[in-house]
């Protein structure tokens, strides 16, 4: 039920009703942007950005920098794991 799917905002369809065309899993849908708009930002400024779509509404903007950071952190795990493994093996030998 709480399923949300990433989608990319392609165009603004109806500014008055905060409706955009969003491509979700290769399908273009009319999606309501009310939850991701604020007074400081015109809807057009969101075109090209990604949102998390749930039951016809964009529920949040997806933060590309944060996504990249998470993936970088995961990629760094391996070298860190190797290091830890060596340290732990070393401790075992001493015991």
């Amino acid at each position: 039920m709480c399923l949300g799917v990433p989608g990319q905002i392609i165009a603004i369809d109806d500014s008055d009703r905060s409706v955009a065309i969003v491509e979700v899993s290769s399908v273009r849908r009319r999606i309501n942007l009310a939850c991701v708009l604020n007074d400081a930002q015109p809807p057009e400024s969101l075109v090209g950005g990604w949102v998390l779509v749930h039951v016809g509404f964009a529920m949040n903007l997806i933060d590309a920098d944060e996504a990249r950071k998470t993936l970088e952190l995961l990629s760094e795990l391996q070298s860190f794991a190797d290091e830890q493994g060596m340290q732990e093996a070393g401790i075992d030998e001493i015991r």
Partner: protein
């Protein structure tokens, strides 16, 4: 970046699993095995079974499938309410596909539709509002259910109906809220748990603060997580690291979507339209204080609970005893005597078998050969 495949990378998953296995060998964790982790959200349950994460995890980690599947906790009497409204000749009854197959006392919405009632599946509450605009001589009743993820969309739809003066649109509100139920589970003390994988999409609406008491008062790590395999594995690793260091904090793994304060626009819409109920009934768990919302008096004209006569009578059903135990993590789905025999996804007896996010349905669908 498309925010899906990147978080399913098998190589990175393998690395995470190695790291989890390594962490499990640390003395402080070895002393407390098994580590029991509840994933709160049905979306996580589905991912865990779909990607077979349980079988990939090292021994000593037990995943408990929590109560975060709104369809699974929908009381059969509430389905009866839906049917009573749908039976009115001028009504078009609309709801999400997930709700269609939940058994009521006598039948499901899907069965009633096959018998001729005008019951329609919609993708969004806005589709139900559109039905109201297109059918001015009919009353359109949208059955809104779900957690905080779905609440804002229903609230905004109702606000739109009010703004446009759409007078033939009504909402039967069955929105529920997860935090009081987590508190009830912890207060109950039946379930031995070491920590939680927290619901990512509920949290993108409500933020992180509502979970603070779980870490502070109950000393359980609470990791708000995304739904892809790497998200869930990383969350498990973060949780194990907290446990190994005897820490208990609310931590956010799903930073690309969840901001600490949640979504203020969504919160404002919910607060304008809904208010807390004193108590609400969850199938399998019974009554829980402040665990549901209802429509505020300002929007009473749209409230199906006030506009329609609903059948009286509320009570727990016998066959749901096992469902309650599964929901609390006291029973594994395949330990239920009905599982896979009389209760299957095509003929569900309990609601946990209805939704693909229900622990029993996910278990049946993806682990069938292993279990049966």
């Amino acid at each position: 970046m498309r925010y899906v495949d990147e978080f399913r990378d098998p190589l990175l998953a393998r690395q995470l699993l190695d790291r989890i296995a390594q962490r499990m060998r640390s003395p402080s964790l070895k002393a407390r095995l098994p580590v029991r982790i509840m994933e709160v959200c049905g979306g996580h349950t589905h991912s865990i079974f779909r990607y077979g994460l349980e079988s990939l995890l090292p021994e000593g980690i037990e995943l408990i499938h929590g109560p975060g599947c709104p369809v699974c906790v929908l009381p059969r009497e509430r389905v009866d309410d839906c049917l009573a409204i749908a039976a009115q000749p001028d009504v078009i009854f609309a709801t999400f596909g997930d709700a269609m197959r939940v058994p009521g006392t006598q039948k499901s919405l899907q069965q009633a539709r096959s018998e001729g009632l005008d019951i329609r599946m919609v993708y969004s509450p806005l589709d139900a509002l559109e039905l109201a605009r297109k059918n001015p001589s009919r009353r359109i009743v949208f059955f809104g259910l779900g957690f905080e993820t779905t609440m804002p969309s229903t609230a905004l739809t109702l606000k739109q109906a009010a703004d446009e003066g759409v007078s033939n649109f009504f909402l039967l509100c069955h929105h529920i809220t997860i935090v009081p139920t987590l508190k009830a589970l912890l207060d109950d003390g039946d379930v031995a748990l070491d920590g939680f994988i927290g619901p990512g999409h509920v949290s993108m609406v409500i933020g992180l603060e509502p979970y603070a008491f779980i870490a502070r008062q109950f000393q359980k790590p609470f990791i708000v997580s995304g739904f892809e395999p790497l998200d869930i594995l990383q969350s498990i690793l973060i949780l194990l690291e907290q446990l190994a260091n005897t820490e208990a904090r609310v931590e956010n793994q799903y930073t690309r979507v969840v901001q600490p304060a949640g979504n203020r626009q969504a919160q404002a819409a919910v607060a304008e339209v809904f208010e807390l109920r004193e108590r609400f009934v969850w199938r399998g768990l019974g009554e829980i204080e402040h665990s549901g919302v209802r429509i505020r008096p300002a929007y009473a004209a749209f409230d199906a609970e006030r506009v329609f006569d609903l059948p009286a009578g509320r009570g727990e059903q016998g066959e749901d005893v096992h469902c309650g135990q599964v929901l609390k993590g006291l029973l594994h789905p395949h330990q239920c005597p009905l599982f896979g025999k009389v209760c299957t996804p095509s003929t569900p007896i309990g609601a946990l078998m209805v939704s693909s996010e229900g622990a029993c349905s996910a278990c049946y669908q993806y682990k069938r050969t292993e279990v049966l």
